[in-house]
Symmetry: C2
Amino acid sequence: MLDAIARLRRFNRAVTREVGALDQSYLGRGRPLGAARVLQLITPQGTDIAEIRAKLALDSGLLSRLLRTLEAEALIQLASDPADRRCRTAHLTPAGQTEMAAYEAIGYARAAETLARAGKQPQALIDAMDLIATTLLRDQTEIRDADPNDCAALACLQSYYDLLVEKIQGITPGMLTLPLADAQNYRPPHGAFLIAWSDDLPVGTVSLRPLDATTAEVKRLWVDRSARGQGIARRLMHAIESRAKSLGYAHLKLDTNAALTEAITLYRTCGWSDIPAYTSDPATHWLGKTL
Amino acid sequence: MLDAIARLRRFNRAVTREVGALDQSYLGRGRPLGAARVLQLITPQGTDIAEIRAKLALDSGLLSRLLRTLEAEALIQLASDPADRRCRTAHLTPAGQTEMAAYEAIGYARAAETLARAGKQPQALIDAMDLIATTLLRDQTEIRDADPNDCAALACLQSYYDLLVEKIQGITPGMLTLPLADAQNYRPPHGAFLIAWSDDLPVGTVSLRPLDATTAEVKRLWVDRSARGQGIARRLMHAIESRAKSLGYAHLKLDTNAALTEAITLYRTCGWSDIPAYTSDPATHWLGKTL
DNA sequence: CAAAATGCTTGACTAAGGTCAGGAAAAATA
DNA sequence: TATTTTTCCTGACCTTAGTCAAGCATTTTG
């Protein structure tokens, strides 16, 4: 009775109540849940209705009708996509933005309330939620390109730096600055900056910069604590290697530090092998791979 | 964008999907969700329909109809409560028990599936779920009497022993045996054994045994790691003190070890003060309180 | 260019959940 | 004992969600 599954089911019950309560409060704005959910997916810049349908798994007839009620309330405008006039796009009107902000406020308030219940340790609660969300969203984790100066990219780098400071003797926060001075190196056509997303949370990153015409360097592999053990680091390495290949590189290098043991193990199982030192100081290990 | 509230809302989205999927699989038994939920609240011994209505927050008319469909399927039997013939009680028939077991199996299977997704660290996932469930169910935590040989009681004691072994030098698992040799001391009319429940998970315990006609001893205060910081220990102490009072005791004593710092702090803030040693060995602190 | 496929809308229909007023039986209260 | 209250049932009715087939405009394919 105290086994893992009983505990998990208790979690399910607790969370069902919570989610149900959130739905109830959305109802407070005098609109059925279906319409409210659709409205919350529409951006001021416009959202393809096919995208809404896919996200909410709605029947096309049903969605069509929900959109029409929102349009009748003057919350959204529907327009044909100029590129393909069969497709339609929904835009938020100013009134729609106001309404949407009201829903945001409800969600925000309820979240704050939940957080308040955590008492003295909200961080522990958030960590637990991150772990669960990442686990449940595991199959949805996707790797996408980013610009090294994006705010998500900077957040990843900051977390990576925090890790280095924590793990490697002799590295202090002052030695690491953001944004990257050589950001240009991590952009196409010679470099890349990849982020692994779980829902709208960046949970991992890796990047690539040119060393010479045929050699590139893999830099800053990081996976968030809550997302480890799910093969994300390996997926990032595969992604960056195939990207390097498609950018025309034949050789890859990287440097790392003995304190990052899991990373070193990962590199080796990905087919990387030791090479002579080509950088200094915090680096203690140097690996290479030919594509 | 990476603040606590954004993360919490991501958690909400992840978990909504999961709960929705569970509902979908309940649908697999060819019965609408409402009826399935009602069925799962009915015990073979019989459940008052007022209780079901309260738990699911259903309209009496609606519940009446749901019960009738279950009765028509021969899954339940309805009978008037002999004590108050206005009230009715629902009993599971053998067919109903079979059907209920099928729902249990579905929930169990889905839970096992989720657990499998945790990869190499299922324990971390369960710990996270416990923390969240306990936090969300905080207001529902209730303290009830138990028998010291109940399986929940034994589980609490085992966890308490594990804590002692971990915290106190010189205590080894072999020194602590279950069930308690003097279980009788913790039963009415001279003793008590209280358990704090969060949903169906025991998250804390405390017990009381007689020392002499006017003095009792408080023993084995424990709160699960996932439930700390919510005042449960304090509630347990209040409960056991008022129980001692109603059992006619005038004085309370307890012994504890210096390693259990939070407990000692709690005792002092509950109005306990140092008294002369009255036990030996692992005990290093002795406190008392006059009611 | 004709045929097929795609994206969406419309209307007809169903199931499920939920509300409400009224009423019967039983219990509590005056 | 008469009145009020409680508990539940019944029937009428409504809203929401969801399915399905037909149809229109547009794009893609052969």
